[in-house]
């Protein structure tokens, strides 16, 4: 557990980065600090491991005032992940991961064994251990950064915009990976980002910081969307917050059957038909035409996100983005299960609302 008690940070030039912050990060949760630049979210994070010391106020980590612990000792007990991973370019991946155990006085063999375990935990092949960071992609470097932060098994993990320098596809992978890891490891994680979608996705609790270092709202993502505390939070959460709310709803949507065809077949296409490969994975759509045609790559209409059966947001997006207005639902292997319609999603939403599942 991390407690901020009336914490203020005033820099030498007089700017107030953090203003009277009172906030408790519950143990075993991911808490996200979100806000635009200069709102004090990163400063708040850095005060936890004394990269910055507060001007006044107290920060307690598991009940202990951080100012009473000498910084290097404190920091070895707190994992830290930064934006560009901050890996040591002159050390192999394995030695990078072994850094904190070695600093804490483990012998080299034990530290390396532990490092190898961690590479596996973050989903990197063992042969990455011998490489230098420059030989890894940005996403892989970030995984190594997470492995390094976890090496000494610290109860608290600080993550300072760790995924903001990688491309959106890799970022989503890393986010899912973090959620998976957290389900296993149950750390107390403070995660800083300026991306509200990332905050809503990862945070069990989200702290929205406002310019001038004020904490504008500290709540669960659903509360934040349903009841923003003030105009700042409302505008930060965005105009499409009703749509974002769908991310947190898991109502059942009826799945309709759909006609499918394979490449090379000659068929009559009376209505929208989904073309699939040999593993029944979607390849694209054929619109209805008169007469028989041969199904080939060039008459396929592609597009449309896929619905994996998880949230209403995914279902609605799949239906809205599909050229046929039918959202393709797939199972874990990517095979087609059927299609969903936007009006069914809206009906499911109404049902969820009637059942009191939509946060007010």
């Amino acid at each position: 557990m991390i407690e901020f008690r009336a914490v203020t940070k005033r820099f030498e030039d007089g700017t107030i980065a953090v203003d009277e912050l009172d906030l408790t990060v519950e143990a075993g949760t991911i808490t996200v600090f979100v806000g635009s630049s200069g709102c004090g979210k990163t400063t708040s994070l850095r005060m936890v491991n004394r990269m910055i010391d507060p001007t006044s106020g107290t920060i307690l980590v598991d009940g202990k005032d951080v100012l009473t612990v000498d910084p290097p000792t404190l920091r070895r007990g707190i994992g830290y992940v930064i934006q560009q991973a901050g890996l040591f370019p002159h050390r192999t991946v394995l030695d990078n991961v072994a850094t904190v155990p070695l600093l804490s006085g483990w012998d080299r063999r034990k530290a390396r064994t532990r490092a190898a375990e961690l590479l596996e935990i973050v989903g990197l092949d063992a042969n990455f251990g011998k490489r230098y960071p420059a030989q890894l992609s940005g996403g892989q470097q970030q995984r190594v950064g997470v492995a390094r932060a976890l090496a000494a098994d610290p109860p608290v993990l600080l993550m300072d915009e760790p995924f903001s320098a990688v491309d959106p596809v890799v970022r989503e992978d890393l986010q899912n990976e973090l959620l998976r890891l957290q389900a296993e490891l149950d750390k107390t994680i403070v995660f800083v980002t300026h991306d509200i979608d990332e905050a809503l996705k990862l945070g069990e609790r989200v702290a929205v910081f406002q310019t001038g270092g004020h904490l504008a709202q500290y709540a669960r993502p659903t509360e934040l969307l349903a009841a923003p505390a003030n105009d700042f939070v409302a505008s930060f959460v965005g105009r499409d917050r009703g749509y974002r709310t769908l991310t947190f709803l898991h109502a059942d949507v009826p799945v309709h059957p759909i006609d499918t065809a394979k490449l090379g077949q000659r068929i009559n296409v009376a209505d929208w038909t989904l073309v699939v490969d040999d593993e029944n994975r979607p390849k694209g759509w054929l619109s209805g035409v008169d007469g028989e045609i041969e199904v080939s790559e060039k008459n396929l209409i592609s597009g449309g996100s896929l619905y994996d059966g998880s949230t209403l947001r995914g279902a609605l997006d799949a239906a809205l983005s599909s050229p046929s207005a039918l959202g393709v639902m797939v199972d874990d292997s990517g095979a087609v299960m059927g299609v969903v319609r936007a009006d069914d999603v809206i009906r499911a939403l109404a049902k969820a609302r009637a059942a009191g599942e939509v946060p007010k």
Partner: protein
Amino acid sequence: MTWIFENWERFWEVTEVHLRLSFVPVLIGFVLSIPLGWLASRSQTARAILFPLANILFTIPSIALIVITPVLLGVKILDEINVIVPLVIYTIALMVRSVADALSSVPGHVTAAANAMGFRPLRRFLTVDFPLALPVTIAGLRVATVSNISMVSVGALVGLGGYGQLFTEGYQTDHTEKVLAGLIGTVVLAVLADGLLLLLGRVLTPWARAGR
């Protein structure tokens, strides 16, 4: 060339002196440059004093410095100290800037990560900052070494100076072969030393060529 083979013992003797007079100052100067360069990379004030001072020292003509050193130090005129001290000064003048630049070239996010991980300052310097500064430092060290090898000859003016002795003797006795021998010795030594340092740099920094 024939002079070298006919007078091998004499040639080897001046070579040894030349080696000693060039490498001892490089070594001392390099070691002293590390804390000074570190200071210059950390503090604006230190940089504002050290860099101009280094420039001024480097512009003092070597002849003047070598002639005046015995007077200032009060040692015997034939003592090797008289050549070593000026060359240490030149090495420092060159290396302070190299070491400072090298340390400043270490990426900020890497040092920040090291701090956040719980490195104490000395350990961070020895195991993170300094190793990462090596490529730039060694480039500076190569320049300082080669420049020292060439400058040692000036010591001949005070009766020391390795191959420099061959230059003065050859000039006074109109013996071109001797001058040529000194010249060849200097060039070979400089090329060898430079090559060795280049190799040393590659062995010490395998990571610098990774991922390229």
